[in-house]
Point group: C2
Chain length 316, copies 2
């Protein structure tokens, strides 16, 4: 076993996940431990070092085989300089994480944000294996995105490419304001937050729906109700799917990707979401731009972050 290995780090507010990948993007081993965010930046960095050393020690690979470490996290980064500008869930502000980790580990380190890293994970060894150009949506609390061009993360001018949640898709008359300040962003309707909001609005205005009897509505309850035939829930899921499909039609006109990969909690809705998204995309996209294009669920689930982070040295 003389091959190179890469360790990916998925830095979350509660847990730090680490994983070993080989050069083909296969996840060989994984491990996780607490972040201990409350103890401050130094402890978090200590923990990252500890878990990275631990997983390699427990593996059949030697430390010398470790060719690089990658880390992904939710927040704003200066990728070129390797600085986390702001990562609220781990309390990092202007932390030169690349330099800190390179000094401790003696290995090259790369960082990127969670949406890009997840996209790379899927492109490298998930639903986008073998695809040169694809676009990944992560439908969670918000809507994140990552653009893969020629197998690599495409960053854009200010490192802001793939902000798919902020494509404006909802017409003025029914648009609400997004957290970014603009009106009608995709994120306002196709995120878990958007779905929950639509469900609560429906209950509040007295629509006849089984959701009225749910104490605390999460996106999953809306999908379950829709699957059980609740018409209000179906309307909400269709609305989330409609605007997702509409945004994809716009992305297709710009990038003509080979595949759209949809991950994140909302994607777990399954066929009830995907069938509608595919139908809307087919309806709203000129035929040459949809020829051969696939819309598929992400495959790696929670592992996309560590796999993509491990891939930063080869694919960014």
């Amino acid at each position: 076993m003389s091959e190179n290995i890469y360790v990916g780090v998925d830095l979350g507010g509660t847990a730090i996940k680490v994983g070993i990948c080989n050069e083909e993007g296969h996840l060989l081993q994984k491990y996780e431990g607490p972040t201990e965010t409350a103890k401050g930046v130094d402890t978090v960095i200590d923990n990252i070092e500890k878990y990275v050393r631990h997983i390699v020690e427990e593996s059949p690979y030697s430390w010398d085989q470790l060719a690089g470490v990658g880390a992904g996290f939710a927040g704003f980064t200066n990728i070129r300089e390797g600085i986390i500008i702001l990562a609220p869930n781990v309390g990092f502000k202007d932390v030169p994480i690349r330099a800190l980790l390179e000094e401790r580990l003696g290995k090259p380190v790369k960082i990127d944000n969670d949406a890009n890293v997840a996209a790379l994970g899927e492109a490298w060894s998930g639903a986008g294996r073998g695809v040169e150009n694809c676009v990944c949506y992560t439908l969670g609390t918000g809507v994140g995105g990552g653009i893969i061009v020629n197998g690599k993360i495409y960053q854009g001018f200010g490192g802001m490419a793939g902000e798919l949640g902020h494509i404006s898709v909802v017409p003025d008359l029914e648009a609400i304001q997004c957290g970014c300040g603009e009106m009608g962003c995709l994120e306002t309707v196709s995120s878990a937050t958007g779905i929950i909001r639509m469900a609560k609005d429906a209950v509040e205005r007295g629509d006849r729906t089984s959701l009225a009897h749910v104490e605390s509505i999460a996106a999953k309850e809306v999908f379950d109700a829709a699957k059980a035939g609740d018409e209000v829930a179906i309307r909400i899921v269709n609305r989330a799917a409609y605007y997702l499909g509409k945004s994809m039609a716009a992305v297709a006109a710009v990038l003509n990707p080979e595949a759209f990969i949809i991950g994140g909690g909302v994607s777990k809705a399954g066929d009830i979401l995907f069938n509608e998204v595919r139908a809307v995309f087919a309806k709203l996209t000129p035929e040459p731009l949809q020829r051969g294009v696939r819309i598929v669920p992400a495959e790696l689930g929670n592992d996309a972050g560590v796999v993509g982070a491990a891939g930063l040295h080869l694919r960014s």
Copy 2:
């Protein structure tokens, strides 16, 4: 003068333009002759060969210095195979132009469509000089586009990337059907055709406008009337600008380009168009996605085609 040169060919229905560029994208010499479309494919190919040989012979460069020939034209292509699938304005259908020209010239040949080639010309040595990632709109009879990623043309999965005219931007209630079959495409409002249609509609329904006295309305008349203060014309120009800016907000969320470059006949409207486009883009785009982003007119005018075609060997 031992440097390499490249000849670009801009194949139009009436004229074939050829130009010599050096490796930095400077247009050193140009020449044009009639296409003679009516005489058939063989004559057109003969003419391309003749004009390419002629311009090199008349130049201070030797035939040996010619490192490659590129050709751009309006129509559908199979870029990898070098085949013009359909180019109505020169009557080409399934013409293996790359193979034909390589045999006649004994030089490597590359082809691409006019919008991509114009985008590359601007990126290489026009308004996008020094810019890694930019998006070019060509506002003519239709709305074409080209995406430049890392200095090169980005083709997409089926070679259809940059179909910016087919981003749907007009809300349902006021959308009309586009030639592509979809509703509300950018091309229906921000092309010369769209502007003329809006002007004719205004005249027909009796709006009070100086355009009512224009015999045959072209886009230029609408811009001239707007500059002279005609309120109907101003409304039409603003509408074209609004949807162009709206489409750019969507493109920015996907690609976060450094620059938008606007060329084609409609871009000649100048400030009256650009000021409004910039204002709309600023209003509809989240702040981080517009930071440092420039919206600028194309610089090469009719030369963009030959320059970009010459650049195909270095930048595609």
